[in-house]
Point group: C2
Chain length 317, copies 2
């Protein structure tokens, strides 16, 4: 019996360079992988986001496999760009390889990473490869550019704006947290149509809506009956002792966009194919605080105690 | 007896925002920490580098303390910018906090990080905070801009160029790998003076010189007697059974610049105060391969088997 050979940093880097070379070139990349740093040109406004993903926190590689881990490392960041109304240009990928890394493991990880890069037209322009004392750690920094003149933030919402979400919420632990589609097309369309504020729902509506409202200097009202609930949230509710609505409010990792829109643009939204899944769920109001309106009763929205599915927590900033 | 409370992601983020607010503002940062992504303006050519640092690989936090770990996370990346002839604009800092993180630990880590940011005039414009299943993990992505029109790479060297280093080499494990000064001023001066190729010495001269030579389509000759040897390399040699020269060639983490220069600019180099420590150590040649000239004998340079000081390895790309 033989143990598969450890696939080290040099081998990983060689395989990564081989894979990255098959991605379509981007004119903004004057110098990519292979020097002390990369050089990017022609970016008037750089939109930059970064996320670290760890085995045991953001995925359990032994269960989901390296390919889905590689995909999520990129798509989680792409979701942040989507929330800015931006499209990706280049990713910088740091990987700490676990001690038991094999060629097979590395190859599957790169399959997932590069398939997502190809699908969402993102180059991979640099990174760092390390050996990890324990599990897989991946950090991706993404640089993008606004899809339109208007850069979306969390802070532009105004009282009276309608709140919409780009898709159903809750139950992401059943698979969606790995396999979601970042809402880049929707984010670009919302920017073009005049959205005033956007956040991506990574920590759950009950946690992220108060962030958007507070950043916009507003409060918010949420219509419980309007919140689109994912099938996975209903499925979880059958055994969790919590309601499907609670799962939709608190689960996190939906990676849908929560968007504030002036009333006058609503009609245009419904005619946009990339915004087909958009649902109105409430509105921004002048008074601070977030209210849940359920069966005619008004109650303060409990701020969900979102923790990542596994061991830890996550706070984007 | 009480156990110090775990200092979680929210608390860390609040403390980080407080510290970052005390750094001098940078006009390029249109939107910093606090949204789904940052927005950077006015960067015609973005120079981008990223490095992941892990407890047990790049430092042993229990020995060196959190402050030096925080400093190194930034300075290691700054050294990569220096090698491009670039100066920093903004850092994006992802941190996975170990389970035993206290307020004291977090505060010291931020002391080191922010002191380096202040010293080298780098903003902190975003990041990510996670809980780590084990030790501290930090990833920094740095975005900079060329100090002059000329962007330095590894690949512009020509046969006949003189090779210089910016300071003495070897023995970094005794402290230099934590406390080095990234050669930003020297990198900018080399760019202005017409250097043709530069690499930062992170993996050791014996490993990094062949990279520069190969990227430039050249070979190289190294004069053993000219290589500046750090006092720490001599100190190590007393007990290691290896020569001080071997330490200077192989130890790695020198974070000095290795630079190829046309002959005609050499005179100007000696008049530049920021290049005071510059030493000529050899030359680029037309034939491939790197030769060490020692006591009149010529031998192929053994490519140092650099491993990081502790458990693992590191390959920048």
């Amino acid at each position: 019996m033989t143990t598969p050979a450890y696939f080290g940093e040099d081998e990983f880097l060689a395989l990564l360079r081989e894979r990255v070379a098959t991605l379509p070139p981007r004119p903004e990349i004057a110098l990519g992988i292979g020097d002390d740093a990369a050089v990017l040109r022609r970016i008037a406004n750089a939109i930059v986001t970064t996320d670290m993903l760890l085995d045991g926190i953001d995925f359990v590689v032994a269960e989901c496999g390296a390919e889905r881990a590689g995909r999520k490392a990129l798509t989680k960041n792409l979701s942040d760009l989507a929330a800015m109304g931006a499209l990706p240009i280049a990713a910088f990928v740091s990987v700490a390889l676990p001690p038991a890394t094999t060629r097979e493991f590395a190859s599957r990880f790169l399959d997932g990473l590069c398939a997502a890069a190809r699908e969402f037209e993102c180059a991979i322009a640099g990174g760092d490869t390390k050996r990890s004392p324990r599990g897989l750690v991946v950090n991706v920094t993404l640089i993008g550019a606004p899809a339109h003149d208007h850069i979306l933030t969390r802070s532009g919402g105004r009282p009276g704006d309608v709140l919409v979400v780009s898709g159903p919420l809750g139950g992401s632990i059943l698979g969606h947290h790995l396999d979601f589609t970042p809402r880049l097309a929707a984010g670009a369309a919302f920017a073009r149509r005049g959205a005033t504020a956007v956040i991506d729902l990574s920590d759950g509506l009950a946690r992220d809506l108060p962030l958007l409202a507070a950043a916009s200097g507003c409060g918010a009202e949420l219509d419980a009956a309007s919140i689109p609930i994912a099938a996975a949230a209903h499925e979880l509710a059958r055994s969790s002792g919590r309601s499907a609505l609670d799962h939709a409010l608190d689960d996190g990792e939906d990676y849908e966009l929560l968007v504030a829109l002036p009333h006058e643009v609503l009609a245009a939204i419904t005619s946009e194919p990339s915004l087909a899944g958009t649902t109105i769920i409430g509105r921004l109001v002048a008074d601070p605080g977030v209210t849940l309106v359920r069966d005619g009763h008004r109650e303060p929205l409990a701020r969900g105690g979102f923790r990542h599915h596994f061991e830890g927590g996550d706070r984007e900033r």
